[in-house]
């Protein structure tokens, strides 16, 4: 029984495939022993700490086919290893899907956005510090949750959908993509599957050790955003302790269609309140067809937190979440 503070990368193989087939083949062969490496901003800490011990890294950023923003028949397609900086500054994204540009621009820090990718931001692992410390909690395959214990520090944990594990979705871009009704393009040697953003993420009740439905050998290669929500009225806000390098206490992403002052359609999603981005369909239904106004926002905000089950120290997320939803509806 000893502890040591690890700080250097352990021995591990590195593969740098330059074409899709090769990458998918490697992912398939290596299975759970192969670590998919994109920007690496959620990789090196795990490896340096020796809390995750794959035997090889498969670098995906050398594959040009998985980079960049391009127009498709219905909307746009963004390669999964496109950097967050590129997305935040891309004219196409800025002009039609400002929601995503905004979300990408508030992730972590400039240097992290310069190498961090959209795919990486979407599939990043839970940030619960107990889990990150390498403790054998539920999410690490153990049989206990240290955060939701009588004295556990759970200020930053879940309000909804907790099942043994109370970790939350840490991503800023995920709520934006769910709000934009995006589709995840998932490839493997077996072929390709298209998964609605909303179904891409999975909570602990269904899978307590993974945050997404990706199976071994599968790679998220692109994200498609339909034209349905292009140029809708968008609202994104992230509230965190620090204005750089922090994860949201709560964030909100909303796409709202308004005509003649009344809301014709809307998608509102909150992050950091559940293990998956939480779509607020009840709120959407409540505002559809209503005049967009301060009063409307005040009326429906409470619906957003129906069924919230706060832990010992995260009650504040309830008013915060309601306030952010209000702001999204007020616009």
């Amino acid at each position: 029984m000893v502890a040591t503070s690890h700080d250097v990368m352990p021995d591990i193989e590195l593969y740098q495939p330059t074409d899709e087939a090769n990458a998918l083949a490697l992912a398939n062969t290596l299975g759970s022993a192969g670590w998919l490496l994109a920007g690496g901003q959620d990789t090196y800490g795990w490896l340096k700490d020796r809390n995750k011990t794959p035997s090889a890294m498969i670098e995906l950023t050398q594959i040009d086919a998985w980079k960049g923003v391009k127009e498709i028949a219905d909307g746009i397609e963004i390669g999964a290893v496109t950097t967050l900086t590129e997305i935040a500054n891309n004219p196409l994204v800025q002009s039609r899907y400002g929601l995503l540009a905004k979300a990408a621009s508030v992730v972590a820090s400039p240097q992290i956005r310069n190498v961090g990718t959209l795919g990486g931001n979407l599939v990043q692992d839970a940030r619960c510090w107990y889990y990150r410390r390498g403790l054998d909690c539920y999410r690490a395959g153990g049989n206990i949750c240290y955060a939701d214990s009588p004295e556990g520090l759970n200020r930053e944990h879940a309000l909804f959908g907790a099942s043994r594990c109370v970790a939350v979705s840490p991503s800023d871009t995920a709520p934006a993509l769910v709000a934009l009704d995006a589709t995840m393009v998932v490839s493997s040697e077996g072929g390709q599957r298209l998964i609605p953003a909303q179904d891409f993420f999975v909570g602990p009740a269904r899978d307590i050790v993974n945050m997404t439905v990706l199976n071994e050998g599968e790679i998220l290669t692109a994200v498609r955003i339909p034209s349905t929500w292009a140029n809708a009225e968008f609202y994104f806000e992230k509230v965190a302790d620090r204005n750089v390098w922090d994860f949201a206490l709560v964030n909100v992403a909303a796409a709202i269609k308004v005509s003649g002052g009344s809301i014709t359609d809307a998608r509102i999603v909150c992050g950091a309140v559940e293990c998956i981005p939480r779509r607020l369909e009840a709120v959407e239904n409540a505002i559809r067809g209503q005049q967009r106004s301060e009063q409307l926002a005040d009326q429906v905000a409470a619906i957003a937190t129906d069924g919230a089950r706060p832990l010992n120290y995260n009650h504040f997320k309830i008013p915060l979440m309601e306030n952010l939803v209000k702001r999204a509806i007020r616009g």
Binding site: M1, V2, A3, T4, S5, H6, D7, V8, M9, P10, D11, R50, S109, W129, Y130, R133, L135, Y146, S149, P150, E151, G152, L153, R155, E237, V239, D241, R242, N243, V244, W245, D246, L249, N312, Y313, N314, H315, F316, I318, P319, L320, N323, L324, K326, R327
Partner: protein
């Protein structure tokens, strides 16, 4: 008075190396045959090492050896709670148990994983109040507190007393330490408004940018240690002792230090530097010990947290008549401090309180290493007292600036338990200057103005720290080429004081700066002993020593000239690097000529005789090694009497968003009252840096340990919430009163620490202003606390629990 150097900006000798990356920190050195050390640390918050089995590790290829506490302390560890080099009695998770040296760090880490240590688990505690309660667990072996000169002791209150204290009531139990002046009862009786309540302040980590890495090797019986420290000579002397080598055989090399903030001022707060030295001695190889960010968090130290009760009485005219304060300060698992008493001292000086009673007890918790951090005590209390002052002003119908002015310290005022006179004080002037530059009169109408969910809040804060010491040594040399060498024992921690204080000597001799060499950075450069670079004392302390040494040098120079050219020394004056007869400028000698003459004369002129008796042994060693190399000026600074205060004032305006609990700092200006300004750019940096620290203190910096299992959470920059650029205002205005202090030859006092307290005080005041005067009685005031307050959710935190970020 017109100075040649004092009050002027200059280019410190080290700054070029900093912008080019050439200047070397301990971790940047390398040496033939260098091996790497890694630490095995305690996984338990409190335990005793029963046995260590490292056989497998030692047998591994590329492993050179290990160092344990038994190697360091053959006669066993003392039972003081001070941080040890290595320990068999860990009182916090992450405390170093042994070090292993290997060919590279990867090998070292892998080898350490094979070592098995058997621990005896001991009870541990995270919240000092839990330990204080009857039957509660103790953080130390055999007690929960440490009594100076007596050792570990046990302080226990009845559970009811603890519960009542948590509820915000005055503690009734006997304190460990107390002091008092004035008639408290009468003062409260005379008070028109009295505030009373419990409060907490955060203890949070220093997180200096440079981890306390160290590198050491031995050569010809001498130990060379590349380390990191705020101070040079005091640490060099102390480390030699810890390493166990005579000071003359010990070379401490520390050209630059990546931040100190209090925790690297003295050897006993950075004993880990001895590990590579000891290990290198044992395995006879140069050893580099790179300390990780996580290790820097656990052994790098944190400020003491407070759990306190405060009662303040104000007379009808706004005078602060009475202060009664009771503080439980968190001693952590190792280290500790006297922060609590300093907090009361700070209020008594800042607000010239008529009657003060302080009571305090420090209790262990198995949470990290605690010690001095920028304004230890003064800065914890600043953000607590400020909103209370505003509440009093509101209740008594006095302007918030006025109530501060009328309580402010002025010349002739005294303060603290011993009613020590201040060397000088111009706080009302500082407040006035700040008010002018900030535009208090015009702005105060904006207070509490609402705009949608946003509310304006204005705040005024004041900071204080005792800022000057004396009794240290000075060594200057006039070289044969006429250049002036100022030997500085001051550490290079980023304040540039090691250079700016040297300018006092250049000032005396009226030497152009290009002709002056500051000798520092290595203990074998023959440096004078000085006081550690803590307590904002360097400017005051070392301008005195350098000024005095230069005066001694100048006297000797005039003697030499008078002897050669006739007349009395008094007949001569100096300028343009010459000493010449006052009556006839043409009769004189250049500094170079005088220096050469001094060398010929030797004796007292070159440090070979008449060395001041009462100089520190370390300084004497330096002088003896320099003897005969140049014309030397030596000085032993006599002790001064009074308290040289460092004061700052901050005005700020914020816009607080009641829906998110976040606020934007719209404007901030800090004014220093620190005597004559020696180095304007350096002072501005201290004011700006203090501001960022103040923002962290009142905002969100934290020191998280799992209350259930005692494992550290906020080990990195992200989790400790160190303020980023975008958390600070776009501009931080700076200014200074710039009136000379009589007890310093150039009129200067220090200021590094108070700048932080003033800003955090201004911010908590502004937050409370924006929330209609609500007082949180806590620092930090986090977004979730504000949201809960606005939403009317009663705090979920365990009452009086410190900075645990629980909603």
């Amino acid at each position: 008075m017109a100075y040649m150097h004092i009050g002027k900006d200059f280019v410190p000798p080290d700054v070029a190396g900093k912008v080019t990356g050439r200047i070397k920190y301990a971790e940047d050195y390398t040496r033939e045959g260098m091996v790497y050390a890694r630490l095995l640390t305690s996984p338990l918050p409190h335990a005793r090492v029963v046995s260590i089995d490292a056989a497998e590790a030692l047998a591994m290829e590329g492993v050179f050896g290990i160092l344990t506490a038994d190697d360091v302390y053959p006669d066993g560890e003392d039972n003081s709670p001070g941080l040890k080099v290595l320990t068999n009695q860990p009182t916090l998770v992450g405390e170093p148990i042994l070090a292993l040296a290997a060919v590279d760090e990867k090998t070292a880490e892998t080898a350490i994983a094979t070592i098995s240590v058997t621990f005896e688990r001991l009870p541990f505690v995270m919240d000092p109040l839990d330990s204080l309660a009857e039957g509660g667990p103790d953080g130390y072996d055999g007690g929960n507190t440490f009594v100076f000169r007596e050792g570990v002791a046990s302080e226990k209150w009845s559970r009811d007393e603890v519960a009542s204290f948590r509820a915000g009531n005055e503690p009734t139990a006997e304190p460990q330490q107390s002091w008092e002046y004035g008639d408290l009862a009468a003062a409260f009786a005379a008070s028109a408004y009295t505030y009373e309540g419990g409060f907490t302040t955060a203890g949070y980590p220093h997180q200096s940018m440079e981890p306390r890495s160290a590198f050491a090797y031995w050569e010809n019986g001498k130990c060379y240690l590349h380390g990191t420290s705020q101070s040079m000579t005091p640490v060099a002397a102390g480390m030699a002792d810890i390493v166990g080598v005579p000071v003359e055989d010990f070379v401490f090399i520390n050209e630059a230090t990546g931040g100190g903030f209090g925790q690297r001022a003295r050897p006993n707060s950075i004993p880990s530097m001895a590990i590579p030295a000891k290990l290198s001695q044992k395995i006879n190889r140069p050893v580099m010990m790179r300390v990780t960010r996580e290790e820097e968090f656990t052994i790098g130290g944190a400020r003491q947290g407070f759990q306190g009760w405060i009662k303040c009485g104000f007379k009808q005219d706004g005078t602060m008549a009475a202060l009664d304060m009771y503080i439980i300060s968190d001693n952590g698992g190792k280290g500790g401090g006297g922060d609590a008493s300093s907090a009361a001292d700070c209020i008594s000086i800042l607000y010239q309180t008529e009657a003060v009673r302080f009571r305090g007890t420090s209790i262990a918790s198995n949470t990290g290493h605690r010690g001095a951090q920028r304004g230890p005590g003064q800065n914890q209390i600043a953000p607590i007292i400020s909103p209370i002052l505003d509440k009093a002003a509101e209740e008594l119908g006095i302007d918030r600036l006025e109530i501060r002015k009328l309580n402010a310290a002025q010349n002739g005022d005294v303060g603290g338990p011993r009613r020590t006179p201040l060397t000088s004080a111009y706080m009302p002037e500082a407040l006035e200057m700040g008010a002018q530059q900030f535009g208090w009169e015009e702005r105060k109408g904006r207070a509490r103005q609402k705009n949608g969910s946003k509310v304006r809040g204005l705040g005024i804060g004041q900071g204080y720290h005792n800022a000057g010491r004396s009794g240290m040594d000075g060594i200057v040399r006039l070289m044969p080429d006429g250049r002036l060498a100022v030997h500085s024992g001051v550490g290079n921690l980023g304040t540039y004081s090691f250079a700016s204080t040297s300018r006092a000597a250049a000032e005396v001799l009226q030497m152009p700066w290009e002709r002056v060499d500051v000798i520092a950075g290595r203990s074998d450069r023959h440096l004078p002993m000085t006081s550690p670079q803590d307590g904002s004392n360097s400017i005051f302390t070392n301008t005195r020593t350098n000024y005095g040494a230069a005066q001694d040098l100048l006297a000797k120079m005039k003697e030499i000239v008078a002897a050669d050219l006739g007349g009395e020394p008094a007949d001569y004056e100096h300028g343009n690097e010459r000493v010449y007869r006052s009556s006839d400028n043409s009769v004189g000698m250049t500094f170079a000529e005088i220096a050469q003459r001094g060398l010929e004369l030797g004796g007292k002129y070159t440090g070979e005789s008449e060395v001041p008796e009462d100089m520190d042994d370390f300084s004497k060693l330096s002088v003896s090694r320099l003897a005969g190399t140049a014309l030397m000026g030596l000085f032993k600074d006599p002790a001064h009497n009074n308290n040289p205060p460092g004061f700052t004032v901050t005005f700020t305006e914020i816009e607080l968003d009641t829906e998110t609990g976040k606020y934007e700092i719209l404007d901030m200006i800090s004014i220093a009252e620190c005597g004559t300004v020696v180095h304007p750019q350096g002072l501005a940096n201290q004011l700006r840096g203090g501001a960022v620290w103040g923002i962290g203190l009142s905002g969100y910096e934290r020191h998280l340990y799992d209350p259930q299992n005692g494992i550290p959470a906020s080990t990195g920059y992200w989790q400790s919430k160190v303020p980023t650029l975008l958390d600070t205002p776009a501009n931080i205005g700076t200014g200074w009163v710039d009136l000379p202090d009589p007890e310093n030859p150039v009129g200067a006092r220090g200021v590094g620490e108070p700048s932080m307290g003033a800003v955090s005080a201004a911010l908590t005041a502004a937050i409370s202003d924006a929330l209609d005067g609500h007082i949180f009685n806590a620092a930090p005031v986090t977004a979730d606390m504000i949201i809960n307050h606005v939403a009317g959710i009663s705090s979920e935190a365990i009452p009086l629990a410190q900075n645990n970020f629980r909603g």
